[in-house]
Point group: C2
Chain length 129, copies 2
């Protein structure tokens, strides 16, 4: 149960890997919004590898990088941090903030509610899949 955390740029890169699956340096670079030097992207990936957040395997002469940390784990860490530090431990406050403001229509609110209903329906025990 270790706390995973990423710097801003590392997170950009991880986002690409989570979204697209294993990528080469060139592919990550391509996918990034900011226009970085090839070696910059490589350096970030190597840093991530040093920290144990990604691994790589040879593919031809290039390396293909795979995320070792799942989205979910990173999300759990990040959310815990936010709930604790920003919302004083209140998930309600977080949720309020999440659905506050524009961009969240009734349709989505209902989908979110469905998530909660489903979990409530679980009976609280069936937790695995």
């Amino acid at each position: 149960m270790d706390q995973v955390s990423f710097t801003e740029r590392e997170l950009d890169v991880m986002a690409v890997l989570w979204e697209r699956g294993p990528c080469t340096v060139a592919e990550v670079r391509e996918a990034l919004v900011d226009d970085l030097a090839y070696t910059t992207v490589l350096t970030v990936l190597r840093t991530l590898e040093t920290k144990g957040h990604v691994s790589h395997e040879e593919q031809g002469k290039a390396h293909r990088y795979t995320p070792l940390v799942a989205r979910e784990a990173a999300g759990t860490s990040a959310l815990r941090r936010i709930v604790d530090k920003i919302f004083g431990g209140s998930r309600e406050l977080l949720l309020t903030n999440l659905v506050d403001g524009r961009g969240v229509d009734d349709e989505e609110l209902r989908r979110l509610r469905a998530v909660l209903n489903q979990r409530l329906g679980d009976g609280g025990s069936a937790h695995d899949r």
Copy 2:
């Protein structure tokens, strides 16, 4: 609508200010879990002030620091970042993660659902209070 962001330590300090309201250096130091030197805390506060996230006023010979960034604004920034980078833009995925795992009982799930219901009941227009 600027993006507010804090470093780890800055966030620790902001958390204290949000929780307790305006504080002196000594009070912040007292409230922090980690045992830091007085000057360390002072430095963090001064950094935050330089960045415009807190302000201070004299009180006797000490300074009392006040947060200029509201919890909500910091939360919105942080959540946007997480939704986008970690959950691929899906609030549903975020919510699932938020209520997944232990520590969330039915009671709380119902409270969270109430948050959504209330917003749905708003009719979508009445947004202020």
